[in-house]
């Protein structure tokens, strides 16, 4: 029966020009957005490559300079530029970069990757300085958002689904074939259900094809990323099922095609625009983000007060005799500079914590209320798959902070002991190694989101097929 209905539905689709328009739009949008994503990721990779090359070149240059100076060459670059001073080397010349390479499927969603830095310059500055890193971007581009596959899937595909399915039952009435169908020995519910099922399968098989072809053309290895690809396709199929079920539900009420279209577009507006905006306003009210501005003055205040405390460094040396310099050079202020930075950083720990906690509370609240809007769920899912969501960046921040401590802890003893920085020390400077968090498609939040949408879709279909029984040739 299903094949029978499908065959005739296919014939009627083929005869209708709008079907080809929808398919052409779908392929155009998917491939354009993937192409844009490829360009974006290529730029990021190019930048990271340039950084690595520059860092390599710098270290080569300084290795030579350091060995020359330590061999006795006269250096006239001033003492701020002296690479054999561990403080000045670690503070500027020997900066290491901590980078976050884009994940293989990063082309599908921009997520937070345009706002959050994907590389940090690590020096002996305070950890707070890392928060001032920002990638350069035109604010209007940030404000508008990007044309990525996530945008196409979450915002535009539902409109295509609505266009494909808004009049499956109502068109029968308008064409006058409804009484014919109702007089069949197969129920309208079965016929309508099968038509929806057929169109759902057709739409998604084509969509899958376009996505897979697009990813292949983009150079993504499908086998290596099978888990993410699988998660992506499952999410897309379930999200599509949700929208098809909404279309089925609206059709089952029995209004005319035009009113169906209007209702479906209104539902789209509600879920895509109003609910996220209202939720955003509410989250801002309940958990407003603390301002970093207030920290600036506070941090300076602390630094100034600590600077007045002249014997703090003396006491530090008494507590850590192993760090006392063999031959103290009173002109060398680097130890006290590093020490005061450490002090300020420690005193600002509490405030830094407050930021992290507040951000986490906001995320939790959004998680709780995301159930009101499948668009929020879907965007978070796609960001997970692309590794451009908040979790990846907060994890990266943690890794960077840990590396920053390691970097500083390497230089600190050298600075305090006022040792000469030599080639051996240069070789030993710790390098940043990024450990990508495991992608767990079946993890609690990811899986539960998918199951929730699946249930919504099934509930919609169930209610719709129940209501279809009540359809009659007369308008409601």
């Amino acid at each position: 029966m299903f094949l029978h209905v499908s065959k005739y539905d296919w014939l009627s689709l083929r005869a209708n020009r709008s079907f080809y328009v929808i398919i052409a739009l779908m392929s155009g949008l998917v491939w354009f957005s993937l192409w844009v994503g490829v360009k974006r990721i290529a730029f990021q990779q190019e930048t990271l490559q340039k950084i690595a090359t520059q860092q390599q070149a710098d270290y080569e240059k300084y290795r030579k300079l350091i060995s020359d100076i330590n061999a006795g060459m006269h250096f006239d670059g001033g003492h701020f530029g002296d690479p054999t001073n561990p403080f000045y080397f670690g503070n500027r010349m020997g900066a290491q970069y901590a980078s976050l390479p884009p994940a293989p499927l990063a082309i599908i969603s921009v997520g937070q990757s345009d706002l959050m830095p994907y590389y940090y310059k690590i020096t002996l500055s305070k950890r707070q300085a890392l928060f001032h890193s920002e990638e350069l971007e035109n604010p209007q581009v940030l404000y508008n958002g990007h044309f990525d596959l996530a945008f196409v899937i979450v915002f535009l595909l539902p409109l295509l689904i609505v266009a494909l399915s808004y009049q499956i039952i109502s068109s029968e009435r308008e064409q006058g074939t409804l009484p014919l169908l109702l007089s069949e020995n197969v129920s309208l519910r079965t016929i309508a259900g099968y038509r929806y099922l057929f169109r759902y399968l057709l739409f998604h098989v084509l969509l899958t094809l376009f996505i897979v072809i697009g990813l292949l053309l983009a150079g993504v290895s499908l086998i290596a990323n099978a888990d993410r690809l699988f998660a992506l396709l499952i999410a897309v199929w379930i999200y599509g099922a949700f929208w098809f079920s909404v279309a089925y539900l609206v059709n089952s009420i029995g209004h005319s095609s035009g009113i169906n279209a209007a209702i479906l577009v209104s539902i789209w507006l509600l879920l895509m625009v109003f609910v996220p905006a209202l939720l955003s306003v509410w989250v801002n009210r309940v958990y407003p983000m603390p301002s970093r501005i207030a920290l600036i003055a506070q941090s300076r205040q602390i630094a100034d007060e600590l600077a007045k405390n002249k014997d703090a460094l003396q006491r530090f040396y008494e507590e850590h005799p192993e760090l006392k310099p063999v031959q103290a050079n009173p002109q060398d202020r680097t130890a006290s500079m590093l020490f005061s930075r450490l002090q300020v950083e420690l005193s600002m720990e509490k405030e830094r914590e407050a930021f992290t906690l507040q951000a986490a509370a906001r995320r939790q609240m959004v998680n709780r209320y995301r159930l009101f809007s499948p668009s929020i769920i879907m965007i978070e899912l796609l960001n997970e798959i692309a590794s451009t969501g908040e979790t990846v960046y907060s994890d990266f921040d943690k890794q960077v902070a840990a590396y920053h401590s390691r970097f500083r802890d390497y230089f600190a003893p050298l600075v305090f002991r006022q040792e000469k920085f030599g080639v051996a020390q240069l070789e030993g400077v710790p390098k940043f190694q990024y450990h990508a968090p495991n992608f767990q498609p079946l993890a609690a939040s990811f899986g539960s989101n998918l199951i929730y949408m699946c249930c919504l879709a099934l509930a919609g279909i169930f209610i719709a097929s129940y209501r279809t029984v009540k359809i009659s040739p007369a308008y409601n």
């Binding site: 930048t47 520059q54 350069l136 581009v141 205040q301």
Partner: protein, 473 residues
């Protein structure tokens, strides 16, 4: 005759449950947006003013130190929010708020609020301005999509046409009714907004009155466009539902699709450098010279030679001025050229990208209105760069004052210090708002686009008004 049609339509609106539902939702969203805007403005302004005072106090209480060390300490200045940001934040979330004025470095204006806001902020931000340029057209569409073709549906068009009334009169009467009704919706919102801005900052209000008026006039034109477009689509379609779908499709395309597409195109046509490349260029320009062939050491030697020649002495120790002060100022001046070149290039690229995005308002009236609002309110990149420019001028004042002091009073001294008598010479930073004449040219493209849309709608209306075509019943 037009009067009668007008009255009839107004009565229809008054009696339609739909109108009251739309009004209620519209006002609810507007109240929400306006209160959000007010809260944001008051909070941010308070924080900024406090922080600016604190930072300046810290500058004054530095105690005795070498003026160059003081220049290194510097102080922070904060970008004041435009009071019209109560209407719409514009790009403010994505623009920095504060810049550190220190020696040797022209820093970027930092602390984007969006960085902390999380992913939800990208999906939905709400404001009164958004209600005006995005939700109000939707309300107009929902009110008026069947304004003309309901007559067709109900069969009353025959009666109209068989009477003495002309098509032109019908259209004008209906349009006037829809327009006046929309104005009745809009005007209380404009009044509430003006009142809120006045309450938030009455002093500055005077300076922004011209912009506010211009914005309101533009809104009136914008509403005129949407009412005309809705009526026309209603006139040319047979079924109200098709009219609704077409209008909402046009609205959705303009609000969601065009902006993202335009920023993608802008980035492709005018690519901007990464943060790394930008700072590397600055570093290399300073180390190796702007032509990459005059390294810092060569420049220093050149300065030394010219100073020795100027004062006719043989060594820097015999100079009547402090050589260090002179060298510092020379390096700063070179640094200014480097920053001007690099920031200039970057801002040029951004401006070109903005122009591409503004031209795309030819495809989207809501986008045109949004751009216009951003320019008139001073919540975009133009205002941001204007602030950055004034901050930089203040920074150069700090640096020059410190260096001049060393140069003139520090000659021959090994250790030279000064105290807050010198620090007080630097006044606190006060941002001067640009005049409307300064900002208006930037709004040219969206104004033109809006005007074009309105012109098209009016021209399209002229056809049924002036050409006696056969109206399909």
């Amino acid at each position: 005759m037009i009067r009668t049609i007008f009255n009839k339509e107004i009565t229809d609106f008054r009696q339609d449950r739909r109108s009251w539902l739309i009004t209620a939702v519209l006002y609810l969203l507007f109240a929400l947006g306006l209160s959000e805007g007010y809260r944001y403005y008051i909070e941010t302004t308070t924080i900024h003013e406090l922080a600016a005072r604190e930072s300046y106090e810290q500058w004054l209480s530095q105690g005795k130190k070498n003026p160059h060390a003081a220049a290194h300490y510097g102080f922070y200045v904060f970008k004041p929010l435009s009071p019209l940001s109560i209407l719409d934040k514009g790009m403010e979330s994505y623009l920095g708020q504060t810049v550190w004025l220190e020696a040797h470095n022209q820093n970027e204006v930092k602390e984007r609020q969006a960085n902390d806001a999380g992913s939800l902020a990208r999906i939905g931000e709400f404001s009164a301005g958004l209600v005006w340029y995005m939700i109000l057209p939707l309300a107009i569409i929902l009110l008026g999509f069947n304004l003309f073709n309901k007559e067709r549906e109900n069969g009353t068009l025959r009666f109209w046409l068989s009477s003495q009334v002309s098509i032109g009169q019908i259209l004008i009467g209906k349009w006037l009714a829809l327009y006046i009704w929309s104005l009745v919706l809009l005007l209380p919102m404009l009044a509430a907004a003006t009142l809120t801005i006045a309450v938030a900052n009455a002093a500055i209000m005077k300076l922004y009155l011209g912009r506010l008026l211009l914005l309101f006039v533009a809104l009136l034109a914008y509403v005129a466009f949407w009412t005309l477009a809705t009526l026309l689509v209603s006139f040319y379609t047979h079924q109200p539902s098709i009219a609704l779908t077409l209008l909402i499709g046009f609205w959705a395309l303009g609000c969601f699709f065009v902006p993202r597409l335009s920023s993608t195109i802008a980035k492709v046509v005018y690519p901007a450098p990464s943060s790394f490349e930008f700072s590397e260029n600055i570093r290399l320009d300073i180390e190796l010279g702007l032509d990459r062939q005059t390294p810092a050491k060569a420049r220093q030697k050149h300065l030394q030679d010219s100073l020795l020649a100027q004062y006719g002495v043989d060594s820097i120790h015999q100079l009547p001025i402090n050589y260090t002060g002179a060298m510092l100022q020379y390096n700063e001046d070179y640094g200014y050229r480097v920053f001007e070149k690099n920031y200039g290039q970057l801002h040029y690229v951004y401006r070109q990208q903005d122009k591409v995005m503004e031209w795309s308002s030819l495809l989207s009236p809501p986008l045109a209105m949004r751009h216009l609002m951003v320019h008139l309110s001073g919540t975009g990149l133009v205002r941001h760069l204007h602030f950055a420019q004034q901050a930089e001028t203040h920074r150069r004042l700090i640096v020059k004052t410190m260096n001049d002091d060393i140069m003139n009073n520090g000659a021959g001294k090994r250790v030279y210090e000064n105290d807050d008598k010198l620090w007080r010479k630097i006044p606190p930073f006060v941002y001067r708002i640009p005049s409307l004449a300064h900002d208006a040219p930037y709004a040219a493209i969206p104004l033109f686009a809006l005007g074009l849309w309105l012109f098209l709608a009016v021209w399209w209306l002229m056809r049924p008004l002036m050409v006696q075509k056969v109206v399909e019943i």
